[in-house]
């Protein structure tokens, strides 16, 4: 297993510019590149795989530059969104392909293929062709094919986005389990923030060719540094306020920001607690399974609050016109 380092990478294509100053994926870590389509996450993955070359900068595996190495000399495993299984080969042949390329003896190939198929739970389907498998099974074959060569880095390019929701959730748990068991350095590309939060050690959020922020899932969720990260990971309240003497206030709702001047304060709807009182007007509310999302007016601003139903100090049927709010945790966004 290796540490993957991207340094001063620049890649321009069709008027789009990808620039990564530094991104380090630690040995054995599961890192997700998360961002909307067109943000450069797949291009980044393809550069690590060796399908594309950066215009400038270095890609290092354990400190060794790999820029000049073709994909077949990088010792990587990759799983594509559309699986890319060889349609003219059986499951066994697909998984054995990489081992045959290494010239391993037949008995060893057989042993390793069995091991890989067992890991992904496909024992018994060796002689099927890809078209005879379900989407989920095809994805498992693709995973086995990538893992069986014992790659130093596992690359996954939106591997679950062609599957339906239930299978997606189950497979993502399995990918995580297998990755932990094998301790393999893994880079995962997705545009689904929920998936990223559930599966990653760390997430790198990308936006129009830049890495906006790298961090642990909860860190990013509760302490985003930019508005983009805040909004991409979930519903957000962002208040732009004038702070005086280290405090920024919206009517009676005050935040200790520790500095003065214009600040942008961020907090999640679930950080907003509701009490009886009259500082905020209930503009509207929406019922979700077991929860309630309220739209509250304070002065000329609107904030969102989300609570479990049994946390409210009143029942929904007796929703008052005005309530009090308290924000338990917040962060100050950079400009």
């Amino acid at each position: 297993m290796v540490t993957v380092t991207l340094r001063n990478i620049v890649k321009a294509r069709n008027g789009f510019r990808l620039k990564i100053d530094e991104l380090i994926v630690e040995n054995g870590e599961f890192l997700t590149l998360l961002g909307p389509s067109g943000c450069g996450k797949t291009t980044t993955l393809r550069m690590i795989a060796g399908f594309e070359r950066p215009d400038r900068g270095e890609i290092l595996f354990d400190g060794r530059p790999v820029n000049d190495l073709p994909p077949y000399e990088r010792n990587i495993g990759i799983v594509f969104q559309d699986y890319a299984l060889f349609p003219h080969m059986t499951v066994f042949k697909n998984v054995a392909f990489g081992l045959e390329m290494k010239g391993l003896p037949k008995s060893e190939i057989e042993r390793k293929v069995r091991w890989a198929l067992e890991i992904v739970g496909l024992t018994g389907l060796e002689n099927r062709y890809p078209e005879q498998l379900s989407g989920g099974q095809q994805q498992r074959v693709a995973l086995a094919r990538a893992l069986v060569v014992e790659p130093e880095v596992l690359l996954l390019d939106e591997p679950l986005s062609n599957l339906d929701a239930k299978i997606r959730e189950r497979l993502r748990g399995e990918i995580r389990r297998i990755q932990r068991e094998l301790g393999i350095t893994t880079i995962y590309v997705t545009h689904d923030q929920e998936e990223a939060m559930a599966i990653s050690d760390r997430i790198a959020v990308m936006n129009v060719g830049r890495v906006e922020q790298v961090g642990k899932p909860l860190e990013l969720y509760y302490r985003p540094e930019t508005e983009f990260v805040a909004r991409f990971l979930g519903l957000s309240n962002i208040l732009e306020l004038e702070a005086e003497n280290g405090r920024a206030c919206l009517n009676e709702l005050c935040f200790d920001v520790g500095r003065s001047g214009r600040v942008r304060i961020f907090f999640r709807p679930e950080s907003v607690y509701i009490m009886k009182g009259d500082t905020a007007e209930v503009l509207d509310y929406e019922l979700l399974p077991g929860r309630i999302r309220l739209k509250l007016g304070i002065g000329d601003r609107v904030i969102l609050a989300e609570r479990f139903l049994d946390e409210l100090p009143f029942s929904v049927e007796e929703m008052p016109e005005r309530v009090d709010v308290r924000v338990r945790s917040f962060s100050v966004l950079g400009q």
Binding site: A49, G50, F51, P70, P71, Y72, E73, R74, N75, I76, G77, I78, F80, D82, A84, L85, F86, P87, H88, F97, G98, M101, K102, A142, R145, A146, V149, L155
Partner: protein, 541 residues
């Protein structure tokens, strides 16, 4: 991928194209435009000559007429194929492949046997229908060859017209003809245009059909060049005509390739509408009757020349007999072409096989390079590689005579194989290129990521996946080689006479029985090819 040292694989194909296509081409241009310096004298004298001018205009006019007839005949079929599932659809679809592999000498013979002075149709209706030795016969034969192309291309696109477009238009009040004219037609027009252009190019360059069923009055440029060289030994006029023909056909071919691009882009849509199944009662509706009638016409149109040939081969002096077959299989020396008929059969098969091998050798590396690599001048390279498609057998024959006459190569069979390869290889190239395009690029990348080098990924993954296309391309090459008449006739020494040439010589000597029997054998070989294509079922044009 960048072009590395891999360009070495292009050495053989490029050398072949230069020696056997571009050098002969230049030699024709030199003959036609050079005499103690550059001169337009021969071009001018061709254009000023009434006969040649009429030939040029007729060539364009008959190509235009053939195209209109072909499209008119093909469009209803395209509609039926795209919209409906009807009993017999599979049979008709299979029958539509037949013309592609049927040699034109044989079809011309079929037309003679149907419409000639003592032809089957002539006997039936009691008078000469006036089709043979007129422009009508030429148009009909060209439609025979090309209307299946129209059906295939147009129906393939028609199926992909998302029904929502038409439903949206219906909901907005469009119906019947205005729905077709305003919505459907613009959506399928790239297919109509591309197939029409292809028909036009084929008809423009057609040789055997106008030669045999047009006669001298209805000669095309191709026939005119042939006569100038083979009968009048006038290489200057022949070359001038060839230059005019090349310029025109290059322009038409360019238009075709452009229209094909537009067609291919539309064809990438993955929408497929479900054909509406025919129920039993539907046959009694107007639509059902029209379908039945159309299927019948298609069937008769395609099968009748073939049946006429088979029938004639079995008739000897007014009764059923295998006499013609006995004669062509006898080991008697045939004074007309200086060897036994069996030798001609053997020649055809050997040239066909050699053409297949050589075509693949030339086409495969080029297809691969165009598919895999990006390099400067790629577009130009693509055009130069496809240019042989715009050349004609007669021009090629002329170029070979000018270039290779006197060299040892000229007296071997390889000169014929080379000509056949230049004619056939673009079809292999197209087939393989189309096949390669259908493979998802990720498949190749997956192989690389698993440690396969580029050539290994090609051999183990891509080649097996294009094998079907390659086989279809190879069969086309084989069928074109054994059907080829013009270049072979010009270049072949008597001992290299092929079946096509033998049939043409039998025709010239009015020995229809022998011609028919030999044609039936040719048909059998072609049918074998047809069956394999049906089996593999790849579309290549």
């Amino acid at each position: 991928m960048k072009l590395g040292r891999g360009y070495l694989i292009l050495t053989v194909p490029l050398a072949f194209l230069v020696i056997f296509f571009y050098v002969p081409l230049v030699s024709i241009i030199k003959t036609g435009l050079w005499e103690d310096g550059f001169t337009l004298r021969y071009i001018a004298s061709v254009i000023q000559n009434d006969y040649h001018r009429r030939v040029i205009l007729f060539t364009i006019a008959q190509a235009l007429g053939s195209t209109l007839l072909t499209v008119a005949l093909g469009l209803p079929g395209a509609y039926l194929f795209a919209k409906y599932d009807f009993p017999g659809k599979r049979v008709i679809r299979a029958v539509l492949t037949v013309p592609f592999v049927m040699p034109s000498v044989m079809v011309a013979l079929g037309y003679i046997l149907l419409f000639g002075k003592s032809g089957i149709v002539t006997d039936l209706i009691g008078r000469d229908p006036g089709i043979l030795y007129s422009w009508k016969g030429i148009l009909l034969a060209h439609a025979f060859y090309n209307f299946p192309i129209v059906i295939r291309m147009v129906s393939s696109l028609w199926q992909r017209v998302n029904p929502h477009y038409e439903e949206a238009a219906l909901s907005l009040g469009a119906r019947g003809f205005s729905l077709f004219w305003r919505v459907t037609l613009p959506l399928i027009s790239p297919a109509i245009f591309a197939s029409a252009m292809l028909t036009f190019v084929f008809s423009f360059l057609s040789f055997s059909i106008p030669l045999i069923i047009g006669g001298y009055r209805y000669a095309t440029i191709e026939v005119d060049i042939f006569t100038a060289i083979m009968t009048l030994l006038d290489f200057k006029t022949g070359s001038a005509l060839a230059i005019i023909q090349i310029l025109l056909s290059m322009a038409f071919m360019y238009a075709y390739l452009r229209s094909l691009d537009a067609y291919a882009r539309r064809e990438e849509q993955r929408v497929f509408r479900k054909p509406i199944p025919f129920r039993r009662g539907d046959w009694l509706s107007l639509r059902g009757l029209a379908t039945a009638l159309y299927s019948l016409i298609v069937f008769i149109f395609i099968v009748s020349p073939l049946l006429a040939v088979i029938y004639d081969s079995l008739r000897f002096n007014g009764h059923w007999s295998l006499e013609w077959y006995r004669r062509i299989f006898s080991t008697e020396y045939n004074p007309m072409f200086g060897l036994t008929t069996l030798d001609a059969i053997r020649n055809s098969l050997l040239f066909g096989l050699a053409t297949v091998v050589l075509s693949i050798t030339v086409a495969l590396p080029i297809a691969y390079a165009l598919h895999r690599w990006d390099f400067r001048g790629k577009r130009l390279f693509d055009i130069l590689a496809m240019l042989p498609l715009a050349s004609s057998p007669i021009t090629l024959g002329l170029g070979y005579i000018k270039t290779f006459h006197g060299t040892p190569l000229y007296y071997t069979a390889w000169i014929i194989v080379a000509a056949h390869t230049v004619i056939a290889y673009p079809f292999v190239l197209r087939a393989v290129s189309t096949g390669l395009k259908k493979i998802k690029p990720n498949i190749f990348e997956a192989a690389l990521s698993l440690g396969a080098r580029e050539w290994k990924a090609f051999l183990r993954v891509e080649l097996p996946l294009v094998l079907g296309s390659l086989v279809v391309g190879a069969i086309f090459a084989f069928a074109m080689s054994i059907a080829e008449l013009g270049a072979t006739y010009m270049l072949a020494k008597p001992e290299y006479t092929t079946m096509s040439v033998a049939i043409y010589k039998f025709l010239g000597a009015r020995q229809f029985g022998s011609a028919s029997a030999l044609s039936v054998l040719l048909m059998a070989v072609s049918t074998a090819g047809f069956l394999i294509i049906e089996r593999i079922g790849e579309e290549v044009w």
